[in-house]
Assembly symmetry: C4
Homo-oligomer: 235 residues x 4
């Protein structure tokens, strides 16, 4: 299977990104054992790259990442294709099929975010970093289990038109989306961070609400000004 030089370069980059970015999940303590997974869309093609199932973080390499089409089917005769892709592949594929601006998807069971998810409770937006990053609360998606498209449907229905790039799937864990895989990883890292901070704040009383106008202005500024260049926000 050869997709021509441009797409092959894009596939190689997606393999490297997906393989390397898992180190950030480990660094920030978002995953244990073989849990958690990252995927990246291949720009310009109906393809994405995802982590293999049940493989240890120390053994991830670009060449054992798995190339799939947007139905989540493994592409034959490509590196890594002898392995099974992440058991969450169907959910990633559903997101790519239905949210064309999404370039990366991350799934974790990070502790504090999953604790909110187990209660089916959104994380309220009470700190400015959360307004910057998510523009409001981190919402809860429906209870859905592996086996059909119900997880994918839940992610897409919850996040379409929502400022948040993260959804807490009830009793399950977190899915985040981004313009690319790194952006989705950042969302996963920030989700756990704000889920933890707001949890701890609420342990000893009720956090003060943020005015909606402040949330709006922080979100707007952060999407357009922060960092070294304007961000291509997923609008």
């Amino acid at each position: 299977m050869n997709y021509g030089p441009e797409i092959e370069v894009a596939i190689a980059r997606a393999r490297a990104d997906v393989s390397n970015l898992h180190a950030e999940l480990v660094r920030y303590g978002l995953v244990i054992w073989t849990g958690g997974n990252i995927s990246a869309r291949v720009p310009g093609a109906e393809l994405f790259v995802i982590k293999p199932s049940g493989v240890s973080y120390d053994e991830l390499r670009p060449e054992n990442m798995i190339l799939c089409d947007l139905d989540g089917e493994v592409i034959a005769d490509t590196p890594g294709c002898e392995r099974s892709p992440s058991s969450d592949t169907a959910a990633h594929a559903y997101v790519y099929r239905n949210m064309p601006a999404v370039g990366g998807v991350v799934h974790t069971h990070s502790t504090y975010a999953t604790a909110w998810a187990a209660r089916g409770e959104a994380v309220p937006c009470v700190i400015t970093a959360m307004a910057d990053e998510f523009g409001g609360e981190i919402p809860v998606g429906p209870f859905a289990i592996i086996g059909d498209d119900s997880i994918g449907v839940g992610i897409v229905e919850t996040l379409t038109g929502h400022r948040s790039r993260a959804v807490l799937m009830q009793n399950h864990g977190v899915f985040t989306i981004g313009k690319d895989a790194k952006d989705a990883v950042k969302a996963a890292v920030m989700t756990e961070d704000v889920a933890r901070t707001v949890h701890i704040s609420r342990q000893l009383g009720e956090p003060l609400p943020l005015p909606q106008s402040a949330i709006d202005s922080l979100f707007d500024r952060y999407q357009n000004v922060y960092g070294q260049a304007p961000k291509g926000a997923m609008k």
Copy 2:
């Protein structure tokens, strides 16, 4: 003492596994100082290998792991036999004698699991990762102290016929079993992870229950489909 080439190879592998796998307990923060211990059955023989007592994690080597028979007696004239085996050796031996499908046993005092154990409370199954891994709650075993077979009896009585590979021994800590030592270590890592997540979730309210049918279907799928090959579950 020589057991013939096949068994000697199996002993060497068990020594290496037990020695190396302790690094996972350290990596995931399940043990401190010299606490915690792992053992591995030697397939094809009435033997198992276990960590020496009171030895620091930095000093563990295959050749100082200790070979025992299924009564927990150290085998004379084998590497490491000049040292005392883990003070929990009798409990490990009791499990191997009474649960023939068990190939590995792990014991820790990991923080959150021990916190549940100190209240004598099972960890309820409210997150899908827990349904996958344990098929329901993580049960509590009886209060029992070192000195006779009462810890081993408590483990075996609690886990026989139970989906969970982990038991919270009351006021004490965790014992996990697995088809091999790595599987038991995974169970120990997952036990602490879910004990922590469910604890944190309950700090701010009551987690939503998982439907029993969802627990059943997740457990069934995970035992048979997840990862790179069907798992030899301990049925």
Copy 3:
């Protein structure tokens, strides 16, 4: 742009300090991703050095730190000037303009301190280490968002004449000041440590108050006796 040999040496030292000290924020878990920032005044000049915006901690080097005047304007034709300075630069600049004894400023969203800030609650002084370091409670500053001088004003109004070198900006995070950047980093590290310890203490009851006379005598001694030489406290 050349400021003459003495100032150039001071600038080089400030660049190295600011670049290196960020490692302490990472080591103590006060920051994630690109969050948090440190600045250092250039002694003898109307200048300070600050971290660039949105740049990863692994990529910080003395030569990509950014030199600013006390209005927070980037100095043209200096190393790093092609990048944007930290989005909190205006707040740092305001502090340097209005608190001449301050030689370093640090900003983080460290978890426990931000949890107190989200409730708008000062950390009460109930442990001797806090009396040593802060001489009393860690106060709360006003709610203020990026865009004008309101954050800087809030920091300066709260900390002027206060023993504490740390302020919890409501719903936001922590700003600390020090006689130099290292001293401000120490204040940031200690702020999170005492915010965490007092939080945990209060989870199971009310900490015992410290007598004011003990607070006073601990603070006085620590500012004048502790360490290898009398400290140039910011009085």
Copy 4:
């Protein structure tokens, strides 16, 4: 100053132990910045070795540890004597003068232990590891501040005749003693571990009490049987 070959060897060993053992305080997260200190008695002499004041953990070397007499006075003309010893030196010296079986002393502000200390509450003995190590609760000592012998008096009065090698000094932190410095470090590590586990257990209900007879038999066994040789317990 030369104490003769035997004592000089013992001093060199104490310098190395004190310098190296601080790494365990860092590894287990018991200290931050320059907080915490370890000392070791020099066997056969009226001397002990202690950490210098306000020096970073990365800079500790055997030759900059400080040799003191049992009044806490620095011995002139010995390596490191140009620096100030730990500001807690008087408390360490008081313990050595009044508890001849003590060979090592450790002081930390570790988070969970200090949280109990801030409420003036002993850690109850509800887990078997605590019965093993401390033989009962970890007691609280009086509120006392630096400046005279009151901290040392509080430690000695609380721990004399007590099974516990650890005392929570009210509103302050932990002091532990041991037959040597390593034993005192182990006690400091275990103190934080059990303070954390029991805290977390109590967050969601009341831990079950341990029968006194079980505590007694666990403590007795651990002091006499555990590890590779009978321990020279400090009786």
